[in-house]
Amino acid sequence: MIVVHELTKRFGESDEIVAVDRISFQVRPSEVYGLLGANGAGKTTTLRMIVGLLTPTSGYAEVDGVRSDQQADDVKRRIGLVSTSAGLYQWLSPREMLEFFADLYGMSAEQTAVNLARIADVLDLHSFLDRRCSTLSTGQKQRVNLARALMHDPPIMLLDEPTRGLDVVGSQVVFDYIAHLRQQGKAVIVSTHQLDEAARLCDRFGLLHRGRMVEEGTFDELCARTGCNNLVEIMMRYVRGDEALRESVTA
């Protein structure tokens, strides 16, 4: 269970840049929550605050009742993070890297072996499990990253634009993976630009615009509230609103 309450993050010498502005939402187990928004809306910053990588300026994020700004390690243990910019250790093989991360999360060798075998089946890693990471294709690398986040079998998964740079086949792997996570009972937050796929995958949505949560609810609720037919339309409405405002100010 993830609880985000009035979460705020400001940057700059005198906190003049507001990256995330008092957002609140909850994600329950077996639920996939789509965190949507244009570039710079504050999606990634929100995810980083939930994990405890960034300290909130105010507000808090709670994972299973543990606040990330107070007990970051306990929160990190419960979360699997797939970051948009995640890379691999070029000189290690996927097996070595996955074992290394399992060890970082305090897993025993036996547990690691069991989980590795299971995840390798799920993500079809067997054919390149012992090759150097530097020799893998983009899709294979992303699969290793998905596996890394799942190695310690966390109840919460945060996926930050997991399909960026992937082709159709690669993206499909990610979508199947998300469906699998839901089936496993995990609470999942996905930040993505692929709104059509998000609409198909996610149970609920939070639309961020300029650091604020402007819309939240299920697909039907959002459409009913905004009078739009899809997520793209809803998002464009806010972007155009900005442009109209800018034009009126200029005029």
């Binding site: 940057f11 700059g12 010498e13 990256a19 187990p29 077996s30 910053t45 980083r48 994990v51 990588l53 960034l54 300290t55 299973d64 970051a72 390690d73 306990d74 990190k76 243990r77 419960r78 979360i79 993070l81 970051s83 995640a86 890379g87 691999l88 250790y89 070029q90 000189w91 290690l92 070595e96 290394f100 991360f101 060890d103 970082l104 999360y105 305090g106 897993m107 025993s108 547990q111 299971r118 089946d121 799920v122 993500l123 079809d124 990253n145 890394r148 310690h152 079998d153 966390p154 109840p155 499909q172 199947d176 993976y177 469906a179 699998h180 996570l181 089936q183 496993q184 009972g185 995990k186």
Partner: protein, 771 residues
């Protein structure tokens, strides 16, 4: 593609609760992973193996062909004679020896040092009336080598025939290449002459069996030449006293090269494991793992140190092989050449250096957001490192005073002295301890930088945030904060104390400065760190309420512990922990007497109150509170006591005798602080201990007159008012009894007074704060 259906293991609903694993084991595996990654990279192998294989043979050739031959090319050298007899004895056989050397060279039987392959123009000079001594003239470079004779003990009686009556002293300067060149030139001829003389002596034994007249070559010479006296030589090395930079000590160049190569080995891993990791995008996943940033950084640090050490070992081996192969051992390191002991000692120093510089590299590269940026930062760092390194090459630069605590210079100079067999362990220890502290402090800084918002997410974080005071106040200082504070205190105190002691100041000024210095450094530095890092001051210094009886126990301990400390001091001396002799002791006591000329209150303030209060605030306050967040009770007590002991050795002019008693006092003070949960009783104990001993010293000096009752007590204890405690072999039995019974009572009172709170030792931070 696999299908996910039916893969559920039902574990998602419950939080992942990984089995607890031993932290050290995880750290080891973390380090091994970093090492595996680094050593698989061929760029590491190039710096590790190929560079030394290329550099040292090349340097060997350069040294042999250029540096060592430079002094011999068309240069003029001066041999200065201290007396006419010396000139007569040496110069008269030089022409003969030259001829013998020529013969031997032709037969290829005589190995020649490289510089002897050239023609040397040797000038002769003599000491004149009013000239300084020969040592000074050689030290200043007026003479390259000085020669004088000294009569041997039996010269008055004439001694047995054929035995030397005079000893010839050759005064030279090891640091000067020209002096070494002349010395080796002379040695070659003296040896050749002795070889020739030995041949004649052997032939003479057979003369009765040879034809009575005639003969040629050596036989003829053996008939005609009367055997000269053998030469008894004595070599005297003098330090360089010249202000002119006429030559650079090659023995200094070698450690500098080794150190620079060690840096080179550490540079790539340091960049790759920090900035490289961020650039590859693996850093975020790493800091998202439930492991303290310090642990992650420490794993990387150990890996960098390991690679630096591997580089050091490979370099040392390559250098040794080169020196042995090219035959530069004696030319570079004097008569004894390059010994195994020197190599091992220098390796130990390289370990220290790697420990320090790896931390510096990690701190700098942790700032960088990319490989390129890290390289840009490191170029100025390397140049900065070269400057003190080159400074240490200058003749006359010695490992003493403030230089002993200047990073890099101290290690280069110590390595040079080790190679030359002239290392002074006292200053060596200062250099090693200061380097270790700098490493700890730098690592603390690196841990603050590594993986922070500003580095991890460069665009969204700012440097200002990195330096900004934390928003939230914390109760306890961290170990890195304590290390940083000690690393600042240590060199500043050492340098400032040296300046105060050698500044020609009167006793009042010295005492006042000493008291202020102690307060500013031991109180001020931790205070500054605590304020900057927003640590609650009372809890940062362990300033808590404590049972009144604990103060009573501490007072009794403070007044009665000194006999035990004295016996431990004697034990240390018996164990060989002796750095000064009776003459030094006399000098020390004179120094105390001189200081005691100042007003008594100032003497007590500087010697008892200031150290008692501020050393406690630093060691049992700030450092203790930081250590207890990471260590067990006894671990905290022992580590803080060792730091206290080492500090007293360094601060008291390297008196090793103080190691055991000071560490013992540190253990007792630590125990009291732990039991009481407060620094306050320890302050009282420390002030009482120092104050009692200082009052006794003042009484001995007659500052309070002669008090009849005190005299009686002293007599009953087997002491006199003029007894110098340090010179007493063992204290009289009554005093020893007091030294046993008093502390036992003190311990018991402290124990009983704190018995209730002792049950809750695991949570000292929950102690109620005063005010």
């Amino acid at each position: 593609m696999s299908q996910y259906d039916g893969q559920s293991d039902g574990s998602a609903a419950a939080p992942a609760t990984p089995r607890p694993r031993r932290f050290v084991g995880r750290l080891t595996r973390l380090t091994l992973k970093e090492l595996r990654e680094i050593l698989r990279d061929r760029r590491t192998i190039i710096t590790l193996v190929l560079m030394p294989l290329l550099v040292y043979p090349l340097l060997g050739v350069v040294f042999q062909k250029f540096v060592l031959t430079l002094p011999g090319r068309n240069a003029k050298y001066v041999i200065g004679y201290g007396d006419r007899r010396a000139h007569f004895m040496l110069a008269s056989f030089f022409s003969q020896a030259e001829q013998q050397l020529h013969e031997l060279r032709k037969e290829g039987e005589w190995p020649l040092p490289p510089q002897d392959q050239s023609q040397m123009e040797l000038l002769t000079d003599f000491i004149k009336h009013g000239d300084p001594p020969l040592e000074q003239l050689v030290g200043e470079g007026a003479f390259d080598v000085g020669v004088r004779t000294r009569p041997l003990l039996d010269s008055a009686s004439g001694g047995p025939p054929g035995q030397p009556r005079f000893e010839i002293e050759l005064v030279y300067q090891r640091e000067s290449p020209s002096s070494m060149a002349v010395l080796q030139h002379m040695q070659a001829r003296i040896l050749a002459w002795q070889n020739y003389r030995e041949q004649l002596r052997m032939l003479r034994q057979y003369l009765p069996y040879l034809p009575a007249v005639g003969g040629s070559g050596l036989i003829g010479l053996a008939r005609e030449e009367s055997l000269r006296e053998p030469l008894q030589l004595r070599f005297v090395n003098v330090p360089n006293q010249s202000r002119d930079v006429y030559g650079i000590s090659l023995a200094t160049v070698i450690p500098l090269i080794l150190i620079l190569m060690t840096i080179t080995g550490a540079v790539y891993p340091a960049i790759d494991l920090t900035a490289g990791e961020r650039e590859r995008g693996t850093l975020e996943a790493l800091v998202a793992a439930p492991l303290p940033r310090m642990a992650l950084l420490f794993g990387k640090y150990v890996a960098v140190v390991a690679v630096a050490l591997l580089t050091a070992v490979v370099n040392l081996v390559a250098m040794t092989i080169t020196i042995k192969t090219v035959g530069l051992g004696q030319a570079l390191f004097g008569q004894s050449g390059l010994s195994l002991q020197s190599i091992l000692l220098v390796l130990a120093l390289l370990v220290m250096f790697a420990v320090f510089f790896s931390a510096v590299l990690l701190a700098v590269t942790s700032f960088a957001r990319s490989f390129k940026e890290a390289q840009a930062y490191l170029i100025p760092l390397m140049l900065l490192s070269l400057t003190p390194g080159v400074m240490s090459l200058l003749p006359g630069t010695r490992l003493e005073g403030t230089l002993a605590v200047v990073p890099l210079i101290n290690m280069v100079l110590l390595a040079r002295d080790v190679f030359a067999g002239e290392a002074q362990w006292g200053y060596g220890m200062v250099a090693v301890v200061s380097t270790a502290l700098y490493a700890a402090a730098t690592l603390a800084i690196a841990a603050r930088i590594f993986g922070t918002d500003a580095i991890l997410y460069g665009s969204s974080g700012t440097w200002g945030e990195l330096l900004r005071r934390p928003r939230k106040e914390t109760a306890s200082p961290t170990v890195p904060m304590a290390m940083l504070s000690l690393a600042l205190i240590f060199p500043l105190y050492f340098a400032a104390q040296g300046t105060v002691a050698g500044g020609g100041l009167n006793s009042v000024t010295r005492l006042a400065l000493s008291a202020i210095l102690t307060a500013l450094l031991f109180g001020g530095m931790p205070l500054l760190v605590a304020v900057l890092r927003r640590v609650r001051l009372r809890s940062a210094f362990g300033w808590r309420r404590s049972p009144l009886l604990a103060y009573l126990g501490a007072t009794i301990l403070g007044l009665t512990l000194w006999p035990v400390a004295h016996e431990v001091y004697l034990l240390g001396k018996k164990l060989g922990l002796t750095s000064f002799d009776l003459a030094y002791l006399q000098q020390f006591n004179d120094h105390v007497r001189e200081l005691a000329l100042a007003p008594s209150w100032l003497f007590l303030a500087a010697m008892a109150f200031s150290p008692g209060i501020f050393e406690e605030l630093c060691f049992r306050g700030f450092t203790f509170e930081a250590l207890r967040t990471r260590l067990s009770g006894w671990g905290t007590i022992v580590v803080s006591a060792l730091l206290f002991g080492v500090f007293h050795v360094i601060s008291s002019t390297l008196a090793t005798e103080r190691l055991l008693p000071s560490t013992l006092m540190g253990l007792i003070l630590g125990w009291v602080a732990w039991r009481a949960g407060s620094v306050k009783p320890g302050i009282l104990l420390h002030v009482c201990h120092n104050g009692f001993l200082m009052c006794f010293a003042l009484y001995q000096l007659g500052r309070f007159g002669r008090i009849a009752i005190v005299e009686r007590v002293l007599r009953s204890l087997g002491l006199r008012s003029h007894t110098v405690l340090e010179e007493v072999e063992h204290l009289p039995t009554p005093l020893l009894l007091i030294g046993i019974i008093g502390p036992l009572i003190g311990f018991l009172i402290v124990y009983l007074a704190t018995a209730r709170r002792g049950e809750n030792q695991s949570a000292p931070q929950e102690e109620p704060m005063t005010g």
